[in-house]
Symmetry: C2
């Protein structure tokens, strides 16, 4: 009988502490993710959290990397379908992630994000996830003057704007889900060379 | 000799208190705009603020209305130029407002905005400013299936996403101003019937 490799005891503790930190983040927001609050949530001494994550910034960086991992999974739509169809599905996954985990979404993309620091590993991970979008955009026949990087940024702008206004509750159209799809459709059409 | 109508003493006090509240907002963010902090900033007794604005929510509502007035002025581009050109200029004014006054912008469009409450006068004022964008969009030859309301929301999503990612410092392209213009161009093209 074989057993899958199990996490070491030390790894298990790190995961348990990060789970506790995520619980605090989801419930109380990024400002509440302190070494002390995470220790309380996990039922350990503050030193146990401090030894692994050093500080609030260390905790938020680890949470942000995890959030980018989750976002990467949410926009992973597989190889099926044409490029526009795949982008639509990826964008819907992106919206689901944002609406399901607003505090994680805010952590990585709002003012104060660890991904704004060029030297942070969070920024490198964010760039990798953005590269997935860039690669998907490469499948489109882009309008002259547009490269995949700028095209992907335009698409990201559209979807980020749509989900953040939805989260804020200030969208001016009656059906936010339909409006999101419509925005993605408008941007994808605008990115491409018009069909004859 | 005629003189323009001058504000009454009471109006002058209200304006002075709102100026003080705006100073607190711009410097310390919406959470810091309390009756006590505004009184301190204005050099009056808290009762003087309380009598006019009742509460923190009353202060934030008055500030949000003023922010919408400023935004309306920022996107007012006059009648010159074609519809796409006017929209581009209005969007550039929108970006300038957001970047110059990030706390005011966040107050009206982020989570916690008074404009999320359907019963608030702030929401009515926000709807009026959005209607300016809807009217400008009416000048475009919209793609079949798109009405001006949904087209304006798509454009708003694009520009809101662009400026909020810029404010957060996480844009993936080197020139945020150029990327903003490009996003607006992509959306405006995506909204319109393709030229033959």
């Amino acid at each position: 009988m074989t057993v899958p490799r199990r996490r070491t005891a030390s790894e298990q503790v790190s995961v348990a502490l990060l789970d506790a930190a995520e619980t605090v983040l989801d419930r109380d927001g990024a400002a509440a993710v302190t070494v002390r609050a995470v220790a309380r949530e996990a039922g350990v001494a503050p030193m146990g959290v401090y030894n692994r994550f050093s500080s609030k910034d260390g905790l938020l960086a680890a949470l942000a990397i995890r959030a980018f991992d989750d976002l990467a999974a949410a926009i992973d739509v597989g190889p099926e379908g044409g490029p526009a169809d795949r982008l639509h599905r990826a964008c819907r996954g992106y919206r689901r992630f944002a609406l399901s985990h607003p505090a994680r979404y805010t952590l990585i993309f709002d003012v104060g994000s660890p991904a704004a620091d060029p030297a942070s590993p969070v920024t490198a991970r964010g760039r990798e996830v953005f590269a997935v979008l860039v690669d998907m955009v490469r499948g489109l026949t882009l309008r002259r003057g547009l490269d995949p990087l700028h095209a992907a940024q335009a698409l990201w702008n559209g979807q980020h704007g749509a989900v953040t206004l939805e989260l804020a509750g200030v969208v001016q159209t009656p059906d936010a889900a339909a409006t999101f799809d419509q925005t993605i459709d408008v941007v994808i059409r605008g990115l491409q060379t018009p069909r004859a």
